[in-house]
């Protein structure tokens, strides 16, 4: 249901500075920010000094617009989206806007996750820029002795009717002294948006294609030497003894130190560091899971699933049990952190979704107060939830402290796959009860692996707080997307010590909603209904029906396909957004199923950057293909069997759809979340297509494992 764009205002302040500097508070979410100080009128309060909880916009004399963003860029395009919001309201050229990432702050909302970034910034960023524009126009009006309403803004300049113009940079000093604006400081109505909603290329695209974009490992921090860690073969394995004489004697080796995760080597290059690591003679004690393998974990999960209650009398049942393996995050950029820990202070450079927590954790690990720890947030080479945790930052800090020198710690890919975090394995038992052609009850019981907390487990080594790890609000399954009568669910868990888990793009929905959408197809089959028609008549929400219809029509649902090929469809709703995905699969070669075509339709409210949103949906389609068909991690006697992309089989070009398209529903609602939205719909659409192409009922994922 389209609700009108909110009229809610955000307090916006001018900061005392020699150049125009305005700030908008960022609370935990946008509504609490608006409620923070209801008595103050917007834009007439002078605040001295920068406030950590604010989004701050500064116009420099060199005509640059700088907004230091308290979020991390990991590929999701948040810096571009924010630059577009600023460009829209300021009438600045996108190329004149810089969005550096803010260092860790002491308070406020600096959390990147839960698909919340655009939602939390959309109001404050636009209010901020609108006030700045009003001040710049007022300053120009004074300079030229003209009424403000006669002036226009465009391309980071103010224009007078007679053709005179002034850059924002030339006006910033006088605009900084304006307390009362003579033109409106309200954001534009949606009807006047010309940047927001226009497909826009990433602001960092040129840096990326020329190799200039810098990630943590690319930094040249003075004296920070390449560092790697020898880790135990099993999860949570412990060091018994180490003979480091040979390693220390190798050329280019600066230090060998023990850390909780293993033995660290600091050397002149990563080549020297890896060589010396391999020369360490280490005896490891097996970790606490050493007796455990996949089969046992699977049976414990099955046993931990709560029993389903009694179905309504007289109903027929469609039931399914679904299993999902562990899945690594495996961002392309392995965990990397530069740390310089001194006796009285510390400085860390890394990519973090939770830099405030990281700062506290690093401070406590090295025995400093948080005020003495500086955390610089860098762009990340992918995340998918992995950078909610700050394991590498803590480890780098401990190594720097022990080695008494700055270090550049890098996890190897094998470290990442074998010791990195994982989406928990899970087991699902789902039952739809139907009578007279309708579903009258739907129940979903699940169990997933969770980490047993013993006070010194992984959470003590950089785990994200459980609080922030999960998207806010009830799980989508709690209310039910469908008119399925009585909907309920229950969950159990299998607690394992030392199991490195972490929230993975779309968190619980990635398994729960995927399994449900597969069962919905099976119910439709049991009722002799077409999967699209069945969903159309049973979905509760009009917006969800609309995206379903869009994906079905654009994707030519029901078109004739040769034997061995089929279409599958699925939907999902979360983060104030909804999506439908149609996938076509070719299973002519049963050993190499290929998803050939994916068509998605999404309603995320206002799509700030449709091109970026399409990219996010494209990424979730590949997540769905990978996790359903090939990508998972085995546990063999307490160790992860896989060690690189050679055996952790994430999709390559040959696995990706030959044709992808995304359709965005026009909307004037405020933006919903979008970064994780597509995962469950894509995964289930692939599974449903596979089921229809092969006449099987897929139950255990990934299918080829």
């Amino acid at each position: 249901m389209a609700r009108p764009l909110s009229r809610r205002r955000f307090m916006v302040y001018s900061l005392a500075a020699s150049t125009l500097t305005v700030a908008a508070p960022l609370g935990c979410d946008s509504s609490s920010a608006a409620d923070a100080e209801p008595a103050r009128a917007a834009s007439d309060v002078l605040v001295t000094g920068t406030d950590e909880e604010m989004l701050v916009l500064q116009v420099t004399a060199a005509n640059r617009v700088v907004v230091r963003l308290p979020r991390v860029e990991v590929g999701q395009g948040v810096t571009t989206a924010v630059a577009m919001m600023i460009a829209e309201e300021l009438d600045a050229r996108l190329g004149d806007i810089d969005i550096p990432l803010a260092d860790a702050r002491a308070r406020g909302n600096q959390y990147t996750g839960g698909s919340s970034s655009v939602r939390s910034l959309y109001g404050p960023a636009r209010e901020l820029a609108a006030l700045a524009r009003a001040k710049l126009v007022t300053a120009a009006a004074r300079r030229w002795g003209l009424p403000g309403w006669t002036l226009r803004t465009r391309d980071t300049k103010v224009f007078a009717p007679d053709g005179r113009s002034a850059t924002f940079g030339s006006l910033t000093a006088s605009a900084a002294r304006i307390t009362r604006t003579t033109v409106s400081s309200r954001p534009k109505p949606v009807s006047r948006h010309r940047v927001i909603g226009t497909p826009t290329t990433r602001i960092d695209a040129r840096d990326i294609v020329t190799g200039k974009a810098k990630y943590a490992g690319d930094l040249a921090v003075a004296g920070a030497k390449p560092t790697v860690v020898a880790r135990p073969p099993t999860l949570g394995g412990t060091l018994v003894s180490v003979d480091d004489r040979a390693a220390r004697a190798m050329p280019g080796v600066h230090a060998v130190v023990k850390v909780p995760g293993g033995v660290a080597v600091v050397a002149d290059s990563f080549h020297h560091a890896f060589r010396a690591r391999d020369a360490l003679r280490i005896t490891w004690a097996p970790g606490p899971l050493a007796s455990l393998s996949d089969a046992a974990i699977r049976s414990r999960l099955r046993a931990a699933v709560p029993r389903l209650g009694t179905p309504p009398s007289g109903s027929a049942q469609t039931e399914g049990e679904f299993e999902f393996a562990f899945v690594g995050h495996a961002p392309m950029e392995v965990l990397t952190a530069v740390a310089d820990v001194r006796a009285d202070r510390a400085e860390i450079w890394f990519s973090s979704q939770t830099p405030m927590d990281a700062r506290e954790a690093v401070a406590s690990a090295v025995g400093l107060s948080a005020a003495k720890v500086k955390v610089h947030v860098l762009r990340g080479g992918g995340s998918f939830g992995r950078r909610l945790n700050h394991d590498a930052a803590i480890e780098a800090a401990l190594i720097s402290k022990a080695a008494r020198r700055p270090v550049k710690l890098m996890w190897s890919r094998a470290d990442d796959v074998r010791h990195g975090r994982m989406r928990p394995a899970s087991h699902h038992r789902i039952r739809a009860s139907h009578a007279r052609g309708r579903v009258v009850a739907f129940t979903h019981a699940t169990a997933s692996v969770s980490e047993a907390y013993d006070g010194k487990g992984l959470s003590a080594q950089g785990g994200a707080r459980a609080l922030v790890a999960r998207a806010q609000g009830p799980l989508p399954s709690d209310s039910g997307l469908y008119n399925f009568g009585r909907v309920d669910g229950d969950s159990g868990s299998v607690e394992l010590p030392a199991i490195p888990l972490g929230p993975w793009r779309s968190v619980d929905s990635g398994t729960m909603r995927t399994a449900e959408e597969i069962l919905v197809d099976e119910v439709a089959r049991a009722l002799h209904k077409d999967p699209v028609a069945f969903r159309r008549t049973t979905l509760r929400s009009k917006t969800l029906r609309a995206v379903l219809n869009k994906a079905a029509s654009a994707g030519h649902w029901g078109r004739a396909l040769p034997a061995g090929q089929a279409q599958g469809i699925a939907v999902h709703e979360e983060y104030g957004s909804c999506v439908a995905c149609l996938a076509e699969i070719d299973v002519t070669d049963p050993k190499a199923p290929r998803v050939t075509r994916v068509v998605m339709a999404a309603d995320v409210g206002t799509a700030v950057n449709p091109r970026g949103l399409e990219a996010q949906l494209m990424g979730t389609a590949v997540d769905g293909i990978s996790t359903v068909l090939t990508a998972g991690l085995h546990i063999d006697r307490g160790a992860v069997r896989e060690s690189s992309y050679a055996d952790f089989r994430y999709a390559r070009q040959r696995d990706a759809p030959l044709h992808f398209e995304a359709h965005l529903m026009p909307s004037r609602r405020e933006p919903g979340g979008a970064g994780e939205l597509g995962v469950p719909a894509a995964a289930a659409a692939v599974a449903n297509a596979y089921a229809r192409a092969t006449g099987t009922r897929p139950r255990r994922f990934p299918l080829d494992f």
């Binding site: 590929g75 990433r202 990326i208 080549h271 392309m332 992309y645 999709a651």
Partner: protein
């Protein structure tokens, strides 16, 4: 320590390094050329993909000694000054990148493919092994086709 001379992005360089030191770490740790990325160290993810005498290599598995007297090109050396290589331009036009970490390698792999096969088919493009964990593959495919078209028009 042995000394190795080769041409890097058009300039003669000499480095002191063990013969078996992978070119990737020579580039990144000794020469501060950071466009080629470490993603696995075993030639699988191909985030480090660069060119040796114009052909695709994975510097993480090529010893520096093998490069002596030859021409190494990394992403930093692909453009002609401020004029982007047609593959880089196509990457910009299609806005391929997400996190960007694998893209230097993807671009170098695509450029090498177009040198070998100026009009690649979908099957040719499918043979590119470079991993993109963000899943930008559809745009990579479009960008390669666009670069192929533009190169054909110019010739």
């Amino acid at each position: 320590m042995p000394s190795h001379s080769f041409v890097l992005n058009g300039e003669q360089v000499t480095v002191d390094a063990p013969d078996d030191m992978p070119l990737l770490w020579v580039l990144r740790d000794l020469l501060n050329v950071t466009g080629p990325k470490y993603g696995c160290g075993v030639g699988v993810c191909r985030a480090c993909t660069s060119h040796l005498d114009g052909a695709e290599i994975q510097p993480c598995v090529v010893p520096v000694a093998d490069c002596a007297g030859r021409a190494v090109t990394t992403i930093e050396g692909l453009a002609d000054g401020d004029t982007l290589h047609p593959v880089q331009q196509a990457w910009l036009d299609r806005d391929v990148a997400q996190c960007g970490f694998c893209q230097p390698g993807q671009i170098m792999a695509a450029a090498a493919l177009l040198t070998r096969t100026p009009q690649p088919t979908d099957a040719d493009i499918d043979r590119i092994e470079n991993v993109c964990r963000c899943g930008t593959y559809s745009r990579i495919r479009e960008a390669i086709k666009k670069a192929a078209e533009q190169t054909a028009q110019r010739d």
